[in-house]
Structure formats: C-alpha cells, structure tokens
Amino acid sequence: MKALVLNGSKTEKEAVNSVSDYLVDFLRTNNYEVDVMVLRDEKIASCLGCFGCWLNTPGECVIKDAGSDLPRKVIQSDYVFLLTSVTFGMYSSELKKALDRFPCPVLLPFFKRINGEIHHAPRYDKYPSLVAIGVLPNPDEESEQTFATLVGRNGINLHTNAISSIVYSNDKPDVIKEKIVAAFSKVGV
C-alpha cells in the first residue's frame, strides 16, 4: 500500500513536523511505501486557473514544476495525508498551494450530480482516501468545525472517503500517536 504525505508546515519549528514524523514512523512500521513531500522545500507554483489540464493536455497540469507530478502521485497512492496548521479554519497556504494543483487534472470538467449537488465527474475509477490532520494551539470549536466540514467536502469532490483529526500543539507524543491511529482506522484500515 502506498501513502503520500503532504507536509504543509511553513517553518521547521511547527508542531506539524512532529505529527509528520510520528505518522511516517507509524506507516513505515506497518509496511507502507511512504512518499513525504515537505511542501515548503518544493518549488510549486500557484494554480493559474487556466483549465489547461482539462482542455490542452487533459489530465496533466501545464505548469512544469514539482506540482505537476502531484496528480500522478495522488492517483498512484492508496492514502493521501494532508498535514497543516489550521489557518482560520482551513489549510495553510503551503498545503493549499499543492492541493490547488491536483483536483482539476484528476477530475473531468463535466458536471455530475452527487447527493443532490453538482460536482465534477471523476476521470479515474479509484481515488485515494484522504486523511487531514490539523494542528491548533488550543481548542477552537469554530475553526475545528470548519476544518472538519472542509475535509468532508474535499472527499465529496474527489469521489473518496475523507477523515479529519485535530491535534493540539501541547498534546503529548502518545496522544498525537493515538489520534493518528484513530484517524487512520476510520478510513478503513
């Protein structure tokens, strides 16, 4: 089984990096093939909104940088982990820059009705499960609720199951590890 870990920390000091270390250790211990991208170290341009991945080179991004390989990495993974500081209830800009680059290439431009709402139709038969782990300094109900809703909506748009979990910066290592295992078990492992 393959796992892609997208580390959206903005600095080396963020607690997101510890979460990434514990997660990768857990995955490797359980014999997963793990690809970790520390996004702040990668050259990834912002999505241009050009629709080139639908119209010019269908299924592939027209920008050539580390972000253009994301659609392949996502499609060839069984799990995609999104690690981020919760920023006003959503992902950090570092994580979002990567996230903006892969949904359009792996989906079709055409509309499809899902549970009464319109979304983009799938391009592939199967998509990886999403697990998003957000880090907050302290409990914050509004941010946590918005983050959970966002991750759930990403799951609907990417035609997959999606789970979110919140870690607090002062959580002890054992608590963080328990939350990782709990989130992972919810997506069917």
Binding site: G49, L55, I118
Partner: protein, 226 residues
C-alpha cells in the same frame, strides 16, 4: 459600524482582471464610489510575486476602513494566494489599535450552480476577521460564475439582475454603516437562469472549447495508471 471612507478591493482570482471575481468586486466598488467612497483595487496574483507590491498591498489594507475580498471557490475553499494574503494581513495587523473600525466583506463565486458551496470559504473569511479583530460585515455567495466569465455585469443583461441588485443593496447598507442584509445574501445566491440550463450549457461549453483546441478525443484521458 461607521460609514466607510476608503475601500480596498482585493481580487483573489489567478485570472486577475479577466475574472468573475473582478466583475463582481468592481460592481460593488463602483456603487460605493457613486456614494463618495474613495477606493483602490489590487490583484493578488500580481501582488504576491514581488516584495514591493506585497508591501503596497499591506499598506493599502492598513489605510482602508473597508476591505473587500472577491475570489473564486477553489477546492471547496480559498485559492492559496487568498489564504496567503490572509496570513500576511494577520501578521501585519494583529495587535494594532482600533482594528474593529475596519470592516471585512467577502464575495465568493463558484462554477457550480449552487451558491451554498461557498459557505466554507466565507466561514474562513469570517474566522479571519474575528481572529485579527476586524469587524465582519458579511459574505456574499454566488453560484453559476460561468455565466459571467469575467465580463462586466452591465454587459450581461437580465441574467445577472439578482447579483446586481444584491450588490447595490450591499453598497447601500455599508454606506448606512450596517452589515450586508439577508435580502442581499439571498439575491446574490439566486441563479438568473434555470439550474438545468446552466448545467447543460456548462457541459456543452467544455466540449466546444475542446473542439476548438482539437483535444476532443483526449478529454477523457487517464495519463496515470493507478
């Protein structure tokens, strides 16, 4: 809330001047200008690449008492350039005095027919305003952004009558020192054509565009094996 004096429009679409976000934000700005508000507009896609332009954008926010974000929905939330801007503004403004005198308005549009899909993006802007200490004056959500496709609202006739009216009501309320009322939020969300027609036109439009590029046969390509 006080009547605004100087408004900043921050257009958060990577398409910049050619975007639906620009069309919607500019219409609101024009209505405010007609009532005496001075204004400036910046395109975030052009600001973030240069330190000089980034600093100018932060100064503009600092000097304005009404800040309008207009952006497209991107993967259920904000484009990375918009969240980057919120991060920068928070860092620049946090802790300053009288931040509650600055009012935040957000206009979110998406390509799906349902305006409610913008809810998370607007919630993020509301949380941003609250955490920094600004005053949240309201978030307008529009579905069916493909109807506008970056054209000025005044060129589009009855198809965008609801959105024009919504923005006019929003401008009037802001000038009265009030938050954007429910009536404007409801009108903004109301599609000007039947939903089934919008979906049909959208699907047909993609096929026509692919035909022009001679990529019709490749549209369903699966370049990567699972």
């Amino acid at each position: 809330m006080q009547r605004p004096i100087h408004a900043a429009l921050l257009v958060g679409s990577p398409r910049g001047p050619n975007s639906t976000s620009n069309s919607l934000g500019t219409y609101l700005l024009e209505k405010l200008e007609q009532q005496g508000v001075t204004s400036e507009k910046v395109y975030l896609s052009q600001c973030l690449g240069s330190e000089e332009k980034k600093d100018a954008m932060l100064r503009l926010v600092d000097e304005s008492d009404l800040i309008i974000f207009a952006f497209p929905l991107y993967v259920d939330s904000l484009h990375s350039q918009v969240i980057k801007t919120l991060e920068l503004i928070a860092e620049y403004e946090m802790g300053k005095l009288n931040l509650d005198k600055k009012k935040i308005v957000a206009i979110s549009n998406n390509g799906f027919p349902e305006a409610k899909q913008n809810e998370i993006a607007l919630a993020v802007c509301r949380i941003f305003a609250k955490q920094v200490g600004f005053t949240w004056a309201g978030g307008l959500a529009m579905g069916g952004g493909g109807m506008i496709s970056g054209r000025p609202l005044n060129e589009l006739g009855g198809m965008v009558r609801n959105q024009k009216k919504a923005l006019e009501i929003a401008a009037e309320s802001l000038m009265n020192g009030e938050a954007i009322p429910t009536e404007a939020l409801s009108l903004m969300a109301k599609l000007g054509i039947p939903g089934f027609l919008y979906i049909w036109m959208g699907n047909r439009g993609w096929k026509q565009e692919a035909k022009q590029r001679d990529t019709t046969k490749e549209m369903y390509n699966k370049p990567f094996k699972a």
